[in-house]
């Protein structure tokens, strides 16, 4: 099998000899040399990158690139061949070239393999695909069956830690992780905390992602997400200040792309927002002997605080495909390879445009841009409500977990213990009844199935072995309202500090609250228990 290798060799030495005869030559010419190998023997291991294991014959054809060099070279060659001394010099030059080629062989062999690999790692599109995508868009249909302004399925999941989110938008997957650290503030902003966004494009996500320094797309993605959050002041940085001028919280948002199915910007933005919404930072108070020491309370002592997010800037990406500039929203991997230009608009549900990014690509009419912004505001509303729902269900799950966790740690007064045991049954009750941990379902189910409650504490609950099921069941049956009250007390703690009100939740809670109140007034023991609960919450907030 014959293979051609291109070696680029620059050798001022070789040509300078003959050129010295023709005149001064300041530029080092670049000369392309085609080396054709005729015999190719491979060792058994078959590693294509194993160099110099075979024998290579060279046939040297020196072709000069530049026309001026060509002219000069030919003139030189004629003068060279004319004289005997110069002929020797020419032979020397050719020999030097040959040697250099041999020397450079292994280097350039790697180069060609890399070129092959680079070709293989970029997305290989056929002409059929490009034509098909454009034609299908003329009849308003996309390759995965969506319409031009449909988003793919969006799933938002949260990790076990506060501040970690995983977003799946079709095939694209992004993980967001938020952490906080106490640092010194910037000199010109002594009262404000800071936040920074770091992106990592995992090589597992796409064959064209390389490990190491972030490439252009990675930096652009980070900038878009950052601009959406920073310029619009979505994250309240002043609340991150602990001691003005000395200590502030510095929030770090890490976005990891683990699968590239197209439209990384939107997915990364949603991941950042979801992670920021569920992040909790430890509470810090000034204390100590002189009141100047900073005490950072660990999460099990004092409830950590969420960040204050004023609004949710949602990024919506549009792709412009074809000569007629058909607009598609949320382009897939293949559409991104085919599109001529793209635009990302970051908006929130209040109708503010936080940022617009259009970096190069095809030109777009102004009317098209306005239409895109209108569509984007609708989509932003959808996405915001999805994020908020996901965050809410995460928070209720989290507060449930906190309730169960209190039981073995705190063995305080008797009614506190009783109070905790009741809450424990709430937790085990939930698990006994069903898995959907939704506020509605819980209160409804509890009200309806309390009389028919037949199971003991759930088997998966680690603390259930220390609880007497029968005794609790009777107490549970006689005390319907305190359980409702406790559920309401624990969950409104978070909305107090969160700016976005849980409207749907508070509606259902309000109804049960009223039910609770009516029965409440007859019993006074519950009044004694309730204020303690309130007091603890006041300290934490």
């Amino acid at each position: 099998m014959q293979k051609e290798k291109e070696c680029q060799v620059s050798y001022p030495l070789c040509l300078s000899l003959p050129f010295a005869l023709s005149g001064p030559w300041c530029l080092t010419p670049r000369i392309k040399i085609f080396a054709i190998e005729s015999s190719f023997q491979r060792s058994g291991c078959g590693d294509p990158l194993a160099s110099s294991s075979g024998d290579y014959d060279y046939k040297l054809i020196a072709v000069v690139n530049w026309p001026e060099v060509l002219r000069h070279y030919f003139s030189v060659v004629t003068t060279v061949t004319a004289t005997a001394a110069a002929a020797a010099a020419a032979a020397v030059s050719v020999a030097v070239v040959y040697r250099q080629v041999q020397f450079n062989f292994s280097f350039h062999f790697f180069d060609r393999e890399k070129m092959e690999q680079r070709l293989a790692s970029s997305l290989i599109m056929t002409v059929n695909e490009k034509k098909f995508i454009e034609n299908a868009l003329l009849s308003d249909i996309r390759v995965d069956g969506r319409r031009p302004f449909d988003y793919r399925n969006l799933t938002i999941r949260f990790g076990s830690e506060d501040g970690s989110s995983e977003v799946q938008l079709g095939q694209t997957q992004v993980i967001g992780f938020v952490t906080g650290q106490l640092t010194q503030p910037y000199r010109d902003r002594p009262n404000e905390g800071s936040f920074a966004i770091y992106t990592e494009f995992s090589p597992m996500a796409d064959p064209s992602f390389e490990p190491g320094r972030p490439g252009e797309t990675a930096i652009e993605l980070g900038r878009i997400v950052d601009r959406g959050l920073r310029e619009s002041r979505a994250v309240d940085t002043e609340s991150l200040c602990v001691i003005a001028g000395k200590l502030v919280w510095s929030i770090r948002i890490d976005l990891h792309i683990i699968d590239n199915g197209g439209n990384l910007v939107d997915a990364a933005n949603i991941a950042a927002l979801a992670a920021l919404s569920t992040f909790r930072r430890p509470e810090c108070t000034l204390g100590g002997e002189d009141g100047q020491e900073l005490i950072v309370h660990p999460p099990d002592v004092r409830e950590p605080l969420p960040l204050i997010l004023h609004h949710f800037p949602v990024a919506v990406t549009f792709g412009f495909i074809g000569k007629e500039n058909t607009v598609v929203i949320d382009p897939t991997h293949y559409e991104e390879a085919v599109m001529g230009g793209s635009m990302t608009a970051t908006l929130n549900t209040n109708g503010d445009v936080c940022a617009i990014q259009k970096a190069g690509g095809d030109g777009v009419l102004q009317s098209v841009i306005m239409q895109c912004l209108r569509i984007a505001s609708v989509k932003a509303g959808d996405i915001t409500s999805k994020i908020k729902n996901a965050v809410e269900s995460y928070n209720t799950q989290r507060s449930l977990r906190k309730i169960k966790r209190h039981n073995p740690d705190q063995q305080g007064s008797s009614d506190v213990a009783k109070h905790h045991m009741e809450r424990l049954t709430v937790g085990s009750d939930e698990s006994g009844i069903g898995s959907p941990f939704n506020e509605h379902d819980k209160t409804n189910k509890r009200n309806s199935t309390l009389k028919g409650f037949s199971g003991g504490p759930a088997s998966w609950d680690p603390y259930s072995s220390g609880v007497d099921g029968d005794a609790l069941r009777t107490t549970l049956a006689s005390r319907v309202t305190p359980l409702d009250k406790h559920k309401e007390e624990s969950s409104p703690v978070n909305p107090e500090t969160k700016p976005s009100p849980k409207s749907s939740d508070t509606n259902s809670l309000a109804s049960t609250h009223e039910v609770g109140l009516e029965i409440q007034q007859s019993k006074t023991l519950k009044d004694a228990v309730k204020p303690k609960h309130k007091r603890r919450n006041k300290n934490a907030s």
């Binding site: 078959g46 590693d47 070709l119 290989i124 056929t126 002409v127 299908a136 249909i141 069956g145």
Partner: protein
């Protein structure tokens, strides 16, 4: 020639999932038998063990191999694959067939191909080719002719759309009895399809919506069992009508 061995029964792992390390056959009690080992199996002294995870298959009289479904394709001679031209050289076209190395398609390996009528393929052309030889470490060679030198459906595929699949799905699409979803869709819709064993298939129809429907239906049916596929097909056809 193979003599009748003492135990002529095939391995008890046939048609079952094996993982790397499983000993398929113990050769110590099989004498004078010729076995043909296909992909995914390796002889380790006196035992044959699996190297890949997948289903062990057996074909009479003596062929064993491990079948698994991957996204990547390992070229082997005789396969019909879908390739995309990525480069043109004076001697051959460089074609990507989703394998570890790019394949070479000599410019003369077309029916009636001479130096004067070399076809002009631009970068990105989709071709249906046959793998001529694929030795490890070398770039595979492909051809647009069959073994006899006839064109036989190989060549450029125009229009339509190419979908990616796994090698397992490609094998299912090419198997007989035919794939239920493919058969069912073929009864109701008219389209043409070319399946490459390298995890690519191409669909063409008069309407873009048909192409999209067929392609997505096939892609989604990969993880469904036979019964589920039939149900999915029924629902799909009902939604078309």
């Amino acid at each position: 020639m193979e003599a009748k061995p003492s135990s002529s029964s095939p391995s008890k792992f046939v048609d079952q999932l094996v993982v790397p390390g499983d000993v398929i056959l113990d050769l110590s009690n099989m004498a004078n038998q010729t076995l043909k080992l296909g992909g995914g199996l390796r002889q380790d002294g006196d035992s044959i063990c699996a190297m890949k995870a997948g289903k062990l298959r057996f074909m009479k009289p003596n062929k064993y191999w491990v079948e698994s479904s991957q996204k990547r394709y390992v070229p082997s001679a005789g396969d019909n694959v879908l390739g995309v031209v990525v480069d043109t050289k004076p001697e051959n076209f460089v074609v990507d067939i989703k394998g570890p190395a790019l394949a070479f398609l000599p410019v003369l390996s077309f029916e009636g191909g001479t130096r004067r009528n070399i076809p002009k393929f631009e970068v990105g052309t989709l071709l249906y080719v046959r793998v001529v030889n694929a030795n490890t470490g070398m770039n595979p060679e492909v051809s647009c002719m069959d073994a006899n030198g006839k064109a036989a459906e190989y060549g450029i595929l125009k229009d339509g759309y190419m979908f990616e699949s796994s090698t397992g799905l490609s094998r299912m699409l090419l198997s007989s009895p035919p794939h239920p979803v493919l058969e069912g869709l073929g009864k109701k819709l008219s389209f043409e399809i070319a399946v490459g064993i390298n995890g690519r298939f191409w669909v063409n129809a008069s309407q873009s919506s048909t192409v999209i429907l067929v392609g997505n239906a096939i892609q989604k049916s990969e993880s469904l069992s036979l019964v589920q596929q039939k149900i999915y097909l029924e629902k799909l056809l009902k939604s078309i009508q």
